[in-house]
């Protein structure tokens, strides 16, 4: 079955520190891959997406993600976090267009001053 796994439910980091959020996918092929962020009491917003090509993709607010076919992973990272990056981050995948996304369970990030 197709699935997206985010192994870390919660991550706590200090402001200014680097951040890496892990995501592994299980698909019979290479899906479209996404990272979304959900701020408190809001809908999800797209951070970045990967379709093909350069395995490192840049997103908004200094986020980037790296695709690895050999590892079936799509990890998100940011070099220096700000308190406003506190949110829940979701990794998602889709094998085909307009079939809906399969989401991981999310990682709650708390940034401390």
């Amino acid at each position: 079955a197709q699935s997206v796994t985010q192994p870390d439910a919660r991550v706590t980091v200090s402001e200014g520190a680097s951040l890496q959020l892990r995501c592994k996918y299980s698909y019979s092929g290479t899906p479209y891959l996404f990272w979304y962020v959900q701020y408190q009491r809001q809908g999800l917003q797209l951070l970045l997406k990967y379709y093909s090509g350069d395995p490192v993709v840049q997103g908004v607010n200094g986020f980037e993600a790296e695709f690895s076919k050999s590892d079936s992973s799509f990890h998100l990272r940011k070099a220096s976090v700000h308190w406003s990056d506190s949110a829940v981050y979701f990794c998602a995948a889709s094998m085909y267009y307009a079939q809906g996304l399969t989401f991981g369970l999310g990682t709650r990030v708390s940034v401390f001053p």
Binding site: Y32, F34, Y36, R41, Q42, G43, L44, Q45, L46, K49, Y51, F90, S94, Y97, A98, Q99, G100, L101, T102, F103, G104, L105, G106
Partner: protein
């Protein structure tokens, strides 16, 4: 202004009552979705709509039905709501095939007592 609007934001219903959740988008997107979000389960796809009167079940359609009579509107209906349908419901829309990006509404928090 690219926007997905959900009404209402909060709703309390008694078990057995009918529930109507409404969603609108101003981007003329063909494809729209309904998801529910529950702690520990992440986001689960309920229904997809590919255009007016062209709807398809998602992963958890039981207990729900949808209606799409205009491209910009997509409704989720719970006939005789159950307590296990207490959740946060998100509507989303996506554009053309070259851009598999979902735009999400702010969500409707439904409590079924």
């Amino acid at each position: 202004d690219m926007k997905v609007t959900q009404m209402p934001r909060y709703l309390i219903k008694r078990m057995g009552e009918n529930v109507l959740l409404e969603c609108g988008q101003d981007m003329s997107h063909e494809t729209m979705y309904w998801y529910r979000q529950d702690p520990g389960l992440g986001l689960q796809l309920i229904y997809i709509s590919y255009d007016v009167d062209s709807n398809s079940e998602g992963d958890i359609p039981k207990g729900y039905r949808v209606s799409r009579k205009k491209r910009e509107h997509f409704s989720l209906i719970l006939d005789s709501a159950k307590t296990n349908q207490t959740s946060v419901y998100f509507c989303a829309s996506s554009g053309d095939i070259s851009n598999e990006r979902l735009f999400f509404g702010h969500g409707t928090k439904l409590s079924v007592l």
